[in-house]
Symmetry: C2
């Protein structure tokens, strides 16, 4: 038996917020060229119309990110072209880093397999686009999940971002088990911003179940928030007007 020395290929693909017309052509091409597609089952389902017969499709449970990364690398070492998908941008709180971390731990030479990232529209951007233009000035993204980050680190970031007047996008604001963090975040930001500060709560942007709520910092907790929600808190100049959230691009000088 003779084997071809085929160099494996890993595509780290961001599939955007969930609507197929929000996926870049580059990401779509990476998916269609892949021999194998690996991802969390919910995200695989969203892009299933883009897959073709003959592809290996592995839809995994949500908690097994490390196993997914290892499996993808193993398939690539067999010489396959493997696409690892994340919803949103694979490069923002998603699988791209974990795959690279795992390659590093295995002593990767940077070339075998070849790794390419395909950015996608992130939850942050999708939420912003659907609610107006909140990200016109300096902003930050903070995940409220303390699964892998000590809570004091998160709290320090909330405090710093609130005090320095960043527009703040909260990822993973709340889960069934984790309900207190969003309330603490609200209290921290209220120390520096008006109770009337506009806040957007966007669930499942660009999906059929999308909901968009434009509320205020003081009323934030009266609305439904879950793991599929992105919360955007305006800065001191952000306004709500005609159902839109608008952060002016400049400070009046």
């Amino acid at each position: 038996v003779e084997y071809t020395d085929r160099i494996g290929y890993l595509s780290l693909v961001g599939t955007g917020p969930g609507s197929l017309d929000q996926i870049t052509p580059a990401a779509k091409a990476a998916l269609s060229q892949a021999d194998a597609v690996i991802g969390y089952s919910l995200y695989v389902d969203l892009i299933r119309p883009l897959l073709r017969p003959g592809q290996i499709v592995e839809a995994w449970p949500i908690t097994q990110e490390q196993q997914r990364a290892e499996r993808a690398i193993a398939l690539a070492h067999w010489g396959l072209n493997v696409a690892v998908i994340s919803s949103g941008d694979c490069g923002i709180y998603a699988m791209a880093g974990l795959v690279l971390e795992t390659l590093q731990a295995q002593g990767w030479d940077g070339q075998t397999p070849t790794v390419t990232s395909y950015p996608g529209i992130s939850a942050l951007q999708a939420a912003a686009a659907r609610v107006g233009a909140p990200l016109m000035h300096d902003f930050c993204a903070i995940s409220l999940s303390d699964l892998l980050t000590p809570w004091p680190v998160i709290e320090k970031r909330l405090q710093a971002a609130a005090e320095a007047d960043f527009v703040i996008a909260l990822y993973n604001p709340k889960s069934q088990k984790r309900t207190e963090q969003i309330a603490i975040a609200q209290r921290l930001v209220l120390q520096y911003r008006s109770p009337e500060t506009p806040v957007a709560i966007v669930q499942s942007a660009y999906r059929p179940t999308e909901t968009i709520v434009l509320t205020t910092l003081t009323d934030l907790l009266h609305h439904s928030i879950d793991m599929l929600t992105t919360v955007i808190i305006g800065n001191r100049t952000t306004q709500a007007y005609a159902g839109k959230m608008i952060t002016p691009r400049g400070y009046s000088l």
Copy 2:
């Protein structure tokens, strides 16, 4: 003479980093359906292959953002379908906010014209994808341009972001006239992070002239930086490995 009551339409379109295969199908459709396309001339040139005969195409100089917004709104009031383009994401430091601000100043009713945003791959994401996976943990975007923002506000944000260990993406790091800010930013961040902190300097991502430099915080100023550059400064855990910049997704607990 009888006029149809045609409701104008404004599409705020993010055209991504400059490569046509990084533009979402939704954004492409908005461009092709537009009666008029308005934008900064450099960005209009990048998407010119997507335009079709019969469209009004207005390529404007870089400094006239306010006039561009007013012109787009005027054309929409005539009943046209008008696309206002920004490179990257129109919702991040770009035209979406200025158009909405201008509509607000004119007493817009929220519906006439109808306004829809089409997000695009931002400079931040393009740079991150090309250099590895630096945005795996909380991050912020800070523009170093003090044209519309007092410098003390920017400095305060740099300080807060550095101290609270955000990954920091710098927009507008340097121009021909404005060369000191990036040096001040470097000094501020060095107060809180190691000189060896990985820093990515990405120019014209996804364009034929793309350059990607992976360096360190202490060597940042030895490389070419201009207005088309995005600088990404790692957090305390970010590593450089095999030419990639990798921020671990978790803190070791």
